[in-house]
């Protein structure tokens, strides 16, 4: 599988679901959205527990502990104190915006792309991932083992979602929610 791309203007990872899950996902929009979210949840949970993923040039990712503790300067900052952070608890969270804005940025055929559509958060994730101006803490991306565990964790749900004959109610709900997801991409749902 492909390693994430780390560019100043784009940090993302493309995942070919057919290759990883052995199922043709074309036309299965709801399932792609749900699986994409499961992958995002995995990245967020892992990062918040202080664990990252380091990728080598051939694309394979190795779990790593994120560099700890935080620096003395950071510890002394008002932001750090205001957020109630602790020096040894590295969790990639100050405001929560960076992890909170990871999203499915593109869906095409069997491939989904996970990343940011927000310029600031993308730049922040680039800095952390490559160690530009801040200590390197590679938190972004999933490896094969994580996808395998997502596959086994959700195998029952995937099987259920692939049912050819769905009840009218299920189909209507699915298309309603997909429509809502689409709307949330066009504007805030809060105001």
């Amino acid at each position: 599988m492909a390693a994430p791309t780390f560019k100043k203007n784009k940090v993302s990872q493309k995942i070919n679901l057919k290759e990883e899950f052995g199922i043709d996902f074309r036309g299965k929009d709801a399932l792609k959205e749900a699986l994409g979210q499961a992958i995002i949840d995995r990245i967020v949970e892992r990062s918040q527990s202080g664990n990252g993923m380091s990728f080598n040039s051939n694309g394979s990712g190795k779990p790593v502990k994120l560099k700890s503790p935080y620096s003395d300067t950071y510890e002394e900052s008002l932001e750090f104190k205001a957020a109630g952070k602790s020096k040894n608890d590295v969790n990639m969270t100050l405001t929560g915006d960076m992890l909170g804005l990871i999203d499915i940025v593109n869906v095409k055929g069997n491939t989904i792309e996970i990343g940011w559509d927000d310029e600031t958060e993308n730049a922040k994730s680039y800095n952390h991932s490559v160690g530009d101006t801040v200590p390197k803490r590679p938190f972004f991306g999933v490896n094969k083992a994580e996808l395998k565990s997502i596959k086994s964790e959700f195998s029952k749900d995937i099987k259920e979602a692939l049912k050819i004959k769905k009840k009218e109610g299920e189909k209507a709900f699915e298309s309603f929610v997909l429509d809502l997801i689409d709307k949330t991409k066009k504007g805030d749902v809060i105001g």
Partner: protein, 201 residues
Amino acid sequence: MRVLFWILLIKQKKVMSLASVKGVDKVKFSVKKAFEGTLSNSSLQSEVGTYAVGQMKLYARKATPLQGRNVGSFPSGYPRPKTQEQRERLAKYNRTHPAYGRSTPNLTITGQLIDAIKYEFSKTKKGLFIEFFVDGKRKPYMTGRNKRQKPTKINTDNAELYKLLIDIDKDFAILGLGPIQRKVITNKVRSFLRRALGFTK
């Protein structure tokens, strides 16, 4: 002194029209019920509410309070030299919050006022609403060794104290959600919608 936001303000008509295409009452009912179930999902409400309140606390303590729909600032010149002296004196006899600083303009000495920000959800036919407010009792400050402030309404009630501050200057407001917070909440709602697409977790 409350700030109200709506979340997913979807007209019921919209839910109905989608379902009525199918022309089956049962489908109409199940879609509406399932959608309302997503909105009523207590973990969605708790995640959004906790995040929003956490942001208001963080931004107020960073001295860039969230006010209404924007990131604002506390009144200029605050804390005045006299207030700074007072803050220092109180800090001597009270357990201060880590973000306290003699001249830091963040309404924080012990942290009780900002920690009193709360949220409440309500669901109406129009959608889901979240309201933010300051609530609860506070301990009057110690003003000397074994000497506590007189327990007046303002010294013991966070909402009263907040009201007083707003009356002094509306720029003491600490309730609101800026553009980035609304974006993150939108993303959170989206992630719950995705999870509602059949996945158990």
